[in-house]
C-alpha cells in the first residue's frame, strides 16, 4: 500500500505509455481533421510502432517488476514485444495500399491497430491473472472491430460478429478458469500460484487450469477451439487477416507460455497432457483440412492452425530449450506470414482483389519474381531445408525429443509431411499450370515487405546467431 511510484520507476512501462499516448494522439488528429487524414494517421501509426520498438530495445537490460507483480519486463517480454511490434507494423504497411484501393480510408484503422498492439504488449508483460485478462480484452476488442471494419460487406460483418460472439464465450471460459484458480490458490499472481501449487494439484485447480487453457487455445486458434479461424480469416479485410495471423498469435502464445511455465511449474504433468493433445490435434487438423481449400485466405487460416500446433510442441517440452524453440518458431512464422500476405494482397485484377488459389496459375510466367518469392515462402512454411521454416520446426522437435516426447515429435514430422502436400500444390499451380491473366503491378510497399520477408527466409541459415542468441536469453529469463 505504501509503494511510491516515481517517474523513473515507470521507465520500463515507457513503450506502453508511448503506444497508448500515440493512439490517443492519432485519434485526436483524425477527429479534428476528418476522414481525409486517414493516410496521414495510418502512416504515423507505423512510425509510432517502429519508434516504440526502438525504445523497447534501448531500455536498460534486466528484469523489472512493476505494480506489485502485475507488470513484468524481462528478456522474454522484450523479445516477444519486439516481435509483436514488427508484426503489427508489417501488417499496417500492408494495409496502406489496400485501404486506398478499396476506398476504405478510416483514421480509426491505425488507432485501433495501435490500441490492439498495446493490449498485446500488456498481455506479454502480464504477471497476474487480472493483467492477463485486461490485456487480452484490450487486444481482442480492437480486433473484433477491425474484423468488421468493412461494414458494408456482409462477409466482413459476419466475420466480426462471429469473432466477437465466440471471443466473448472464450473470455468467459478464461475468466471462469481464472476464478477457480484464484479460489483454490488464494492469489492471482503467477508467482503466488506457483508457490501454492508447488506441492501438487488438487482437482479444482486442474479444472481452473483447463478452462484457462481453453481461453488461450481459442486466442491462438488451436484445435479444438479453431472453428472461428477460417471464417474470420476469409471474411475480414485481407490486411486485417494478415494482422490476425501475425501479431495477436505472438502475444497469445507468449502469455500461454508465460502462464504455464511461471505459474504452474509444480503441476507439469497435468498441463503437459493438455498441451500435447492440443498440439497433435492442431498439427493434424491443420495439415488435413487445408488440402481441400480453394480460397487462399482459408488455406492460410488452416496453415496458421497447423503452425500453432508446431509451436506448442516446444511448450509441451516444458524446458528452456522448448521455450527457445517456440520463440524462434514465432519469429520465423511472423516473417513468413507477412511475406505470404504481401503476395495475397497483390492478387488484384481489374481493381478487384481475387482470393482463389487457381488465380495464381502460371504466376511464374506473368510475375516471375513474385512467384519465386512466394514459392520460397511456401517451401519455408512447409519446412523444407535450408529455408527458415525448417529451422523453426527443427528446434521445437529437438526440444521435444530431448524432453522424451518421441511420440509427439514423430506425429509432428508426419503432419508436416502431409502439410507439405498443399504448399507444394500451390507451387505446382504457379509453375506448371497454364497462365491466368496477369495481376496488376505489385505496389512498392508490398514489394518491400515481400522482399524483406523473402530475404530473411532465404538467408536465415547463413546467419542464425542473432535470433537464436536473443531467443536463448529470452527463454532463460522465464526459468
Amino acid at each position: 500500500m505504501n509503494e511510491m511510484l516515481t517517474a523513473r520507476d515507470l521507465l520500463p512501462l515507457l513503450p506502453e505509455l508511448l503506444l497508448g499516448g500515440g493512439a490517443m494522439l492519432m485519434l485526436m488528429v483524425g477527429a479534428f481533421s476528418g476522414e481525409r487524414s486517414a493516410n496521414v494517421v495510418n502512416g504515423w501509426s507505423i512510425v509510432i510502432l517502429v519508434v516504440v520498438a526502438g525504445f523497447l530495445l534501448s531500455l536498460p537490460a534486466g528484469k523489472y517488476v512493476l505494480f506489485g507483480g502485475s507488470f513484468v519486463v524481462d528478456d522474454y517480454a522484450r523479445f516477444l514485444k519486439f516481435l509483436t511490434l514488427i508484426g503489427s507494423a508489417g501488417a499496417l504497411v500492408l494495409s496502406l495500399d489496400y485501404l486506398n484501393a478499396e476506398k476504405q480510408q478510416k483514421f480509426e484503422y491505425g488507432a485501433l491497430f495501435l490500441l490492439s498492439t498495446l493490449g498485446m504488449l500488456m498481455l506479454i508483460s502480464a504477471g497476474d491473472l487480472i493483467a492477463l485478462y485486461l490485456g487480452l480484452e484490450l487486444m481482442s476488442l480492437a480486433l473484433y472491430v477491425l474484423a468488421a471494419s468493412n461494414r458494408d460487406q456482409v462477409k466482413s460483418t459476419e466475420a466480426g460478429l462471429k469473432y466477437f460472439v465466440l471471443g466473448a464465450l472464450s473470455s468467459g471460459m478464461l475468466l471462469y478458469g481464472a476464478s477457480l484458480i484464484y479460489g483454490f490458490t488464494g492469489t492471482v499472481s503467477f508467482t503466488g500460484i506457483a508457490k501454492a501449487t508447488a506441492s501438487g494439484a488438487n482437482i479444482g485447480l486442474v479444472f481452473g487450469l483447463v478452462f484457462l487453457f481453453v481461453g488461450f487455445c481459442f486466442k491462438i486458434s488451436a484445435v479444438p477451439f479453431h472453428m472461428w479461424t477460417p471464417d474470420v480469416y476469409e471474411g475480414s479485410p485481407t490486411p486485417v487477416t494478415a494482422f490476425f495471423a501475425a501479431a495477436p498469435k505472438v502475444a497469445a502464445i507468449a502469455i500461454f507460455v508465460r502462464a504455464t511455465i511461471v505459474a504452474f511449474p509444480g503441476i507439469t504433468h497435468e498441463w503437459q497432457q493438455i498441451v500435447v493433445f492440443v498440439s497433435i490435434a492442431s498439427m493434424v487438423l491443420g495439415s488435413f483440412a487445408a488440402i481441400g481449400q480453394k480460397n487462399i485466405k482459408r488455406l492460410m487460416a488452416y496453415s496458421s492452425i497447423g503452425h500453432m500446433g508446431f509451436a506448442l510442441v516446444g511448450l509441451a517440452a516444458g524446458t528452456a530449450d522448448g521455450v527457445q524453440g517456440v520463440l524462434v518458431y514465432m519469429a520465423i512464422y511472423v516473417a513468413m506470414t507477412l511475406g505470404t500476405f504481401a503476395v495475397i494482397l497483390s492478387m488484384r485484377r481489374d481493381g478487384v482483389l481475387v482470393e482463389n488459389i487457381s488465380d495464381l496459375a502460371g504466376l511464374s510466367r506473368t510475375h516471375p519474381a513474385m512467384a519465386f518469392f512466394l514459392a520460397m515462402l511456401l517451401f519455408s512454411l512447409a519446412g523444407i531445408p535450408p529455408l527458415a521454416g525448417f529451422f523453426a520446426k527443427f528446434y521445437v522437435f529437438l526440444a521435444a525429443v530431448q524432453a522424451g516426447l518421441y511420440m509427439l515429435a514423430v506425429i509432428g514430422v508426419l503432419a508436416s509431411v502431409v502439410g507439405a502436400y498443399y504448399y507444394l500444390m500451390i507451387i505446382k499451380i504457379m509453375y506448371f499450370d497454364e497462365p491466368a491473366r496477369a495481376f496488376e503491378r505489385m505496389p512498392g510497399l508490398l514489394r518491400l515487405v515481400l522482399g524483406i520477408s523473402g530475404v530473411i527466409n532465404l538467408l536465415f541459415f547463413a546467419y542464425p546467431a542473432p535470433l537464436l542468441g536473443a531467443a536463448t536469453v529470452a527463454a532463460k529469463s522465464l526459468f
Binding site: E3, L5, G186
Partner: protein, 205 residues
C-alpha cells in the same frame, strides 16, 4: 432493534418489488419496480457497512442501467403480452432452474457457515479500521492504477469501435447548428394562424 426493523423494511420491499418486476402487466411499471428493488438493496448494503457498493448500486444500476431499460422499453414496441403467453408452459423448467440456483446459494452460504476457516484463504486481509470507500481509494490509484488505466483503455476501444461500426455521415440528416439557433428571432419561427372552428389546422398549413 431499530436496525432489525429497517432490515425487514428494506428486505420486505425488495422482495415484494422484485416479485412485481415479473408480475406487473405494464413493462414500464416493471422497470420502475426494478428501480425500487435496487434502492432497497442498496439500503441493505448500507446496513451491512458496504456503503461504497450501495452508492455504486444507485449510481450505476439506477442511474444508468434502469434508465437505459426504461428508454428501451419505451422506444421499442415490444408486445410484452405475447411474450408472456407461454408462462405456464415454461413454469416447470423455470422452477427447476430457480431451484438449482437456490440450492447453489444454500451451498455457498452453508460452506461459509460450516467451515469458517475458508476466509483464511484470503491473502489480502480486509482492513477493519476504515470505511470501505476509503480503503478502496487508498489502493485504486496506487496499487491498482495499472488495472484502472487498462480498463479505461478498454472502454475507449469500445467507444471508438461502436462509432467506427455504426456512425454514418448521411447527407440529409439535420444537425444542430448553434449560431443559426441563436440567430433565430420570433418573427422567423412563429406564425399566427387563425383556426376556423371545426376545421383544425390541416387546411391552413
Amino acid at each position: 432493534m431499530i436496525a432489525a426493523l429497517f432490515f425487514y423494511l428494506f428486505a420486505g420491499i425488495c422482495v415484494a418489488s422484485a416479485f412485481m418486476v415479473i408480475a406487473a402487466r405494464n413493462p414500464v411499471h416493471s422497470v420502475l419496480y426494478l428501480i425500487l428493488a435496487f434502492v432497497n438493496a442498496s439500503g441493505l448494503f448500507v446496513m451491512m457497512g458496504a456503503e461504497f457498493l450501495a452508492m455504486i448500486l444507485i449510481v450505476v444500476y439506477v442511474g444508468a442501467v434502469a434508465v437505459l431499460f426504461l428508454f428501451v422499453v419505451m422506444m421499442l414496441d415490444v408486445d410484452f403480452a405475447s411474450l408472456k403467453q407461454g408462462v405456464l408452459q415454461y413454469l416447470p423448467i423455470g422452477l427447476l432452474i430457480g431451484g438449482i440456483f437456490l440450492a447453489e446459494l444454500v451451498l455457498v452460504v452453508g460452506t461459509w457457515a460450516i467451515v469458517p476457516s475458508v476466509t483464511a484463504a484470503i491473502t489480502a486481509p480486509i482492513p477493519t479500521n476504515m470505511p470501505n470507500t476509503e480503503a478502496l481509494g487508498l489502493v485504486l490509484y496506487t496499487r491498482y492504477v495499472y488495472f484502472f488505466q487498462a480498463a479505461g483503455l478498454i472502454l475507449l476501444v469500445a467507444m471508438v469501435g461502436a462509432i467506427v461500426l455504426t456512425l454514418r455521415h448521411k447527407e440529409r440528416v439535420k444537425r444542430q447548428d448553434i449560431p443559426t439557433q441563436n440567430a433565430r428571432t420570433p418573427a422567423m419561427s412563429i406564425e399566427v394562424v387563425k383556426v376556423r372552428t371545426g376545421q383544425g389546422l390541416g387546411s391552413n398549413l
